[in-house]
C-alpha cells in the first residue's frame, strides 16, 4: 500500500499558528480531565480513608494487568451539569485488560457524592453495558454507591434507558453467555443490590461491602426492627447464610486478586478474523495533527493529511480518487487491522454520497470494519441539487451506513452539522465507539445560521405585533441566542451529555481506534443485508 505524500510544511506560519492554538486547547482539556479524575474536596478524601476504602483509581490499578492500556470513556461526562460538582458523573467506565483478556469495567467513584447515581451516571453505565453487549465483552462491576440521587429520582429511575436498563442489560449479557463479576467494595442498596446479584460471580469485601434491599434506617422505619449493617447484608452473612454473595474477601487487595483469578479461568472464545498486516507506526508524526487542524473551523483542510498521521505507515489505498472528491474513501490499517475509511473533504454532493454508499457496501461484502472521520457541514442544498435528487442520494448513504453489519467507529474531527452527522455515523447510528476532538462542534446547523434563524423568527413576531426594532434591539435579541448556541455546539457540551464516548487529544486517536477495533472483534460479524435503496 502506498504512503500518503504529505504536502504539509511544518515551518509555515499557519501551521505554527494552528499548532499553538491546538496546544492551548489541549492544555485546558488535559487540566480538566486531570481535575475530573483526581481533584476532590478534602472531606471526601478523608471520608474514604476513614471508611478504610481505596479510591476508584487504586482499585483499577489492582484489577488491571500492569502496563496495559485502559481505554477510559467519557471522562468529562456531566462536566456541564450539577454546577460541575459530579466529575465524571461519579463513575469510571472503560475497556481494560485483565489476565490478557479485554473486559468492560463499570466502577462507582465513591469520592463523588458517595458514588450516588445521578441521571448522567445512569446514562454512562447503560452506555458501557451497551458497549459490552455489542462487542461481547465480559463486565467487571466495582460497586460502591450511595444509591440513586433522590432529589433527581425522576431522571434516574423510570424511563426506558434509565436505572432499570442497567439491570436489564445485565440480564441480556447473561442470556448472551457473557460473564460478569461484581466486586462489592461499599454498599449496594435497593436497586443497587441487583448489580452483584445479577452477576455470575460476586465478591464482598469484609467490613466495607454490604448488599441489602433496604438499609438499616429503612428497615427501622418500615418495621421497627433494629439491625446493624453487617448482620443485615455483610460479607459473612451473604457468603455463609443467604448465598447472595459468592466469595468473601479479607481486604480490597484480596478481592481484586480473586476477581483476576476468576477471569483467568473463563473459557476463551476465538475472536473474529479480519484482514491484518504487520503493525507499523505512522510515518508522519501524529503530533503534527495539531498544526493541520485549522484554528478557524471554517477553513478547509485535507483529511488525507489527518489520515497520514493516524494509520499504519501512513499508507492509504484510495478508492475512486477522482470521483465525488469531497468524500475521501479508501483502505488502510490501524494497529495492523484493515479498515475502510470514509473522511469528509467538503460538503456531501450527489456523487460523494453515492460513492460513500458504494464503498460501504464494498466493505461489508469483504468484512472490513468502517472508520468515519467527520468534518461535515452538511449535504449540499439548492435547486440544482434537489433536482438531481440530493435527498434521495443521502438516503442511499444512510441505508448503506445504517444497514452495515461490520463494526463502525466514528471520530468527529471538526464540524458535525445536520444530516451530515447522520450519514457519517453520528451517535444515533451505533458506532462501537465515537470520539470527539476538543475543537469539534456538533449541531443541527452552524452557530451563525441557527442564531440568525432563531432571531429572525422572534423579530418577525414582534414586527407582526406592530413593533419596529432598531439595529441595537435586533442585536440584543441575536447576541444572547448566538452565545448560547455557540456553547451548546461545543465538544464539552456533547461530552457532558454523553453524546460521545469522550474527547480525545488528536494524537491519541490512533490508539483509541486500535483498542476499539480490537475489542469489537470479540463479536461475530453478520452476513451483509440491507433495506431498500431508493435508486
Amino acid at each position: 500500500m502506498r504512503r500518503i505524500e504529505s504536502q504539509i510544511d511544518t515551518n509555515a506560519a499557519d501551521f505554527k499558528a494552528n499548532f499553538a492554538a491546538m496546544s492551548e486547547r489541549l492544555k485546558e482539556f488535559h487540566a480538566r480531565q486531570h481535575a475530573a479524575r483526581y481533584e476532590r474536596p478534602q472531606r471526601d478524601i478523608e471520608r474514604l480513608a476513614r471508611q478504610n476504602k481505596l479510591g476508584v483509581r487504586d482499585r483499577l490499578e489492582l484489577l488491571l494487568d500492569p502496563g496495559t492500556p485502559f481505554l477510559e470513556f467519557s471522562t468529562l461526562a456531566a462536566c456541564r451539569e450539577y454546577d460541575g460538582a459530579v466529575p465524571g458523573a461519579a463513575v469510571v467506565t472503560g475497556i481494560g485488560i485483565v489476565q490478557g483478556r479485554e473486559v468492560a469495567i463499570h466502577a462507582n467513584d465513591a469520592s463523588v457524592k458517595g458514588g450516588a447515581w445521578y441521571p448522567h451516571t445512569v446514562k454512562k453505565i447503560v452506555r458501557l453495558l451497551d458497549v459490552a453487549l455489542e462487542n461481547r465483552l465480559p463486565v467487571i462491576h466495582i460497586c460502591d454507591s450511595a444509591g440513586g440521587f433522590l432529589p433527581l429520582q425522576h431522571g434516574v429511575f423510570p424511563d426506558r434507558y434509565l436505572g432499570g436498563r442497567v439491570f436489564r442489560n445485565q440480564v441480556k449479557l447473561s442470556q448472551a453467555n457473557i460473564p460478569q463479576i461484581a466486586v462489592v467494595g461499599g454498599h449496594c442498596t435497593a436497586g443497587g443490590a441487583y448489580v452483584p446479584t445479577l452477576s455470575d460471580y460476586n465478591i464482598i469485601i469484609e467490613g466495607t461491602g454490604a448488599i441489602f434491599l433496604g438499609g438499616p434506617p429503612l428497615v427501622k422505619a418500615a418495621t421497627g426492627e433494629e439491625v446493624g449493617v453487617q448482620e443485615l447484608g455483610g460479607a459473612v452473612m451473604h457468603t455463609s447464610v443467604s448465598g447472595t454473595g459468592d466469595y468473601r474477601a479479607a481486604t480490597e487487595q484480596h478481592a481484586f486478586s480473586l476477581a483476576r483469578e476468576i477471569v483467568g479461568q473463563w473459557k476463551r472464545t476465538p475472536k473474529t478474523i479480519i484482514e491484518t498486516a504487520a503493525f507499523e507506526e505512522p510515518y508522519y508524526d501524529p503530533k503534527e495533527l495539531y498544526g493541520i487542524i485549522p484554528k478557524d473551523r471554517k477553513t478547509q483542510f485535507d483529511m488525507r493529511e489527518v489520515l497520514a498521521r493516524i494509520v499504519d505507515g501512513s499508507r492509504f489505498h484510495e478508492y475512486q480518487p477522482d470521483y465525488g472528491t469531497t468524500m475521501v474513501c479508501g483502505f488502510a490499517h490501524i494497529w495492523g487491522y484493515k479498515v475502510g475509511i470514509l473522511a469528509n473533504n467538503g460538503v456531501l454532493f450527489n456523487d460523494s454520497s453515492l460513492k460513500a454508499a458504494h464503498f460501504m457496501q464494498l466493505c461489508n461484502q469483504n468484512r472490513t470494519p468502517l472508520v468515519f472521520f467527520q468534518n461535515i457541514t452538511g449535504y449540499m442544498v439548492g435547486r440544482e441539487y434537489e433536482e438531481r435528487g440530493i435527498a434521495k442520494d443521502g438516503a442511499k448513504m444512510l441505508m448503506a451506513q445504517g444497514g452495515s453489519v461490520v463494526p463502525k467507529f466514528t471520530v468527529i474531527a471538526n464540524a458535525s452539522y445536520g444530516a451530515g452527522n447522520y450519514g457519517m455515523c453520528g451517535r444515533a447510528w451505533d458506532a462501537r465507539t465515537l470520539f470527539m476532538w476538543p475543537q469539534a462542534e456538533i449541531g443541527v446547523m452552524g452557530a451563525d445560521q441557527a442564531a440568525n434563524t432563531m432571531a429572525d423568527v422572534k423579530i418577525r413576531q414582534l414586527q407582526r405585533e406592530g413593533k419596529e426594532l432598531t439595529e441595537e434591539e435586533i442585536a440584543a435579541i441575536r447576541e444572547p441566542v448566538l452565545e448560547k448556541y455557540k456553547r451548546d455546539v461545543e465538544a464539552y457540551t456533547s461530552t457532558s451529555e454523553l453524546w460521545d464516548d469522550g474527547i480525545l487529544d488528536p494524537a491519541d486517536t490512533r490508539n483509541a481506534l486500535g483498542m476499539s477495533i480490537s475489542a469489537s472483534l470479540n463479536a461475530p460479524i453478520d452476513e451483509p443485508h440491507y433495506g431498500i435503496f431508493r435508486l
Binding site: 467538503g346 460538503v347 457541514t377 452538511g378 452539522y417
Partner: protein
C-alpha cells in the same frame, strides 16, 4: 508483474520464487537459482548462485536495504509500481478556475495582469459554512478575475482565468 528495485540509481525488475527445494530469482535475463544463509554474525550472510559462493552483509532499513559485497556497498530501494507506473498527472492543467458549488467570494488575492505560481491561492470562496481556497493550476498570468469580495456566483461559474500558455 515483477517487483521494481533501484540498485545504485538503476531500476531492476525481478521476482523471487521458491520451487519447493530452492529459491529462484526471475529477472528479465532469465532465472537464477540462489540460496542465502545467515552466518550468525550481525547482518552476515552467505550467497550461493551458479556455483559461486560469496560472503555479504545486509543492513535492512524501512525504505531501503544496504548490501556490502566485495568491499562495495549497494543501496537497494523498493519502487512502488503503482506510483512508478502512474505517469505524469493528467496532462495539461486547465486555464480556468470553475466554481465547484454556488457560493460567495470571501477574498480575491490577484487582479488581471498579475503573475502567479502554481499552487498559489487565487481566491477564497464560502459555501455551506465552509471556506474553500482555490489555487492556481499552473504558473501563469491572470487574464480575468470577474468577481469581487462579497459577490455571489452560481455552480460552474468561471471565477478566474489564466492567459493561454505561449507555445
Amino acid at each position: 508483474m515483477r517487483r521494481i528495485f533501484q540498485v545504485g540509481g538503476v531500476e531492476a525488475e525481478c521476482w523471487l520464487i521458491h520451487d519447493g527445494s530452492r529459491f529462484i530469482l526471475n529477472t528479465p535475463d532469465g532465472a537464477v537459482p540462489c540460496q542465502l544463509d545467515a552466518t550468525g554474525e550481525p547482518g552476515g550472510h552467505v550467497l550461493r548462485t551458479r556455483g559461486v559462493v560469496q560472503e555479504l552483509r545486509l543492513a535492512i532499513g524501512p525504505d531501503s536495504t544496504f548490501v556490502h559485497l566485495n568491499g562495495r556497498a549497494y543501496e537497494i530501494g523498493r519502487v512502488d509500481p503503482a506510483r512508478r507506473l502512474a505517469g505524469s498527472d493528467g496532462g495539461a492543467a486547465d486555464d480556468r478556475i470553475v466554481a465547484p458549488m454556488p457560493g460567495v467570494v470571501v477574498s480575491v488575492a490577484f487582479k488581471p495582469g498579475d503573475a502567479v505560481k502554481e499552487g498559489q491561492p487565487l481566491l477564497v470562496i464560502e459555501s455551506m459554512k465552509l471556506e474553500t481556497t482555490l489555487s492556481a493550476p499552473r504558473d501563469g498570468v491572470i487574464a480575468e478575475m470577474p468577481f469581487a469580495a462579497g459577490d455571489s456566483f452560481g455552480l460552474k461559474a468561471v471565477l478566474a482565468q489564466l492567459a493561454p500558455e505561449e507555445k
